[in-house]
Amino acid sequence: MATGHEHTVKAFDQDIKQLRALISQMGGLAEESIRDAMIALQRGDTKLAKEVRAKDKAIDAIEAEVEKLAVRVIALRAPMADDLREVVAALKIAAVIERIGDYAKNIAKRTPLIHATDGERIEAISLLPAMAQMAGDMVHEVLDAFSARDAEAAIRVSERDARLDDFYDSIFRTLVTYMVENPRTISEVAHLLFVAKNIERIGDHATNVAEMVYFAATGQYLADRDTDTAEN
């Protein structure tokens, strides 16, 4: 649904723009974090891993700003209808992106642990970036949908979660098989399992964001919420 014309009180428009900008900024940082964390993992780049952890702090700071701004808008502008839904959605989305950032940081933290020994797990590791790419794309698209208040795009993102879950299932089986065949690598591959889990969770969060975007755009709740128990 298009945004239509501007508010009579121009400062209100600026506040909404600022809110969206902050969310976009957070989202951008989160996407980068996911990507960088995977690169660090593949290359064993501990420096990059540290940068990812620093980015997470930045994400947390922006989340605090979003919260402040949202409360201010509610108090001063008394938003109604779609403005109200957008502000509430922004608050919740910020919290979710903050968690996504935490997952990326978590992945980065495991980088030194996985490269205790080198070279041999490239095969297993190589599956993960593709999954991370998919999750990252979901995050990217859902935040675009939020900026554009595009309900259809949000629906599409939430539909992709099923594929991400399937991807996780296959990686899980692959990794377990590998562990069984290479018992020396169990502790490292266990970390990889957690990494895969984190990526799957990122996908779930992106789906949550999609539902919030849908509500902000249309005022209705997505009929089928993803309560799939297969993720566990």
Binding site: H5, T8, V9, M80, A81, G219
Partner: protein, 272 residues
């Protein structure tokens, strides 16, 4: 033309178990003309006993004009002409057999600027019952006055000075006196035309609380240009624009997810 959400109007799920009673007042296809100019276009709406109905809309959209058709106050304007059907308990109020004086006792009105009579507080409240012959003995009248002032939340403040002039009260008290005066004739419907616009926030809050207490005993329709007030006070909201009824539904639905673009633009402040 107009869109009216009757499906929403019939949904009384927010109100504790009442059978779906017929609406107290019903308007169908109402057009109002001032001379050649058309002020209200084809408006159809229901007002029921259990819910406070708010009319919102920008200036000049006809909400006050439409409100005044409900108790035939437009009759006082020579050039006004009303077409369509408006019923009270099923009877058409514009029918020739309907006595306007009786109608206005059943459908009371409170105005924007508090307008107590230049008489004592007691006389202000007693005037209506007196001309309608509602009190047989002196004791009856005292009772009616006390009951009305209590229901209007004014009794405690004025019980010791009932003979003081009504115009000596503060703005908020005067408006509550006007509400007591309207209540005294035992109406079935109370129409309020921007009752709080001349009052400060505390007086406004007292009146809003009063409306909440009166709900259910009287069918209340309130016109307000303050959307937050409409949101606080009503259960049903109707949005008027340029003389037409754009949207009518449950208050929380109108303010969180309005269906019409024009409604959305108005309540989010994108209008104009």
């Amino acid at each position: 033309m107009t869109q009216v959400d009757f499906a929403e109007a019939a949904d009384v799920s927010a109100i504790p178990a009442q059978t779906e009673a017929a609406p107290k007042m019903s308007a169908r296809g109402v057009n109002v003309f001032y001379g050649e100019k058309q002020a209200i276009r084809d408006v159809s709406i229901d007002v029921d006993m259990d819910n406070v109905t708010a009319f919102i809309g920008p200036s000049g959209c006809g909400k006050s004009t439409f409100l005044r058709t409900l108790n035939r106050m437009n009759d006082t304007v020579a050039s006004a002409r009303v077409e369509g059907e408006i019923t009270l308990d099923g009877e058409n109020i514009y029918d020739k057999s309907m006595d306007v004086v009786q109608l206005r006792a059943r459908v009371g009105m409170v105005f924007q600027k508090p307008n107590p009579f230049p008489k004592s507080i007691y006389e202000n409240v007693a005037y209506g019952p007196r001309i309608h012959g509602l009190a047989r003995a002196k004791g009856d009248m005292d009772q009616i006055v006390e009951r009305s002032l209590r229901r209007a939340g004014l009794w405690e403040e004025v019980k010791d000075r009932l003979n003081d002039s009504g115009t000596a009260l503060s703005g908020g008290q005067q408006q509550r006196l006007c509400i007591a005066r309207a209540i005294a004739v035992d109406p079935e419907v109370i129409l309020m035309d921007e009752p709080c616009s001349a009052l400060d926030p505390i007086a406004t809050a007292k009146i809003e609380e009063l409306i909440h207490e009166l709900r259910g005993r009287y069918a209340i329709v309130i016109v307000t240009h303050n959307m937050q007030q409409a949101a606080r006070v009503s259960q049903r909201t109707a949005f008027f624009h340029l003389g037409t009824l754009v949207e009518y539904g449950e208050t929380d639905q109108i303010f969180t997810a309005p269906r019409q673009e024009r409604t959305k633009d108005y309540i989010t402040g994108r209008y104009g």
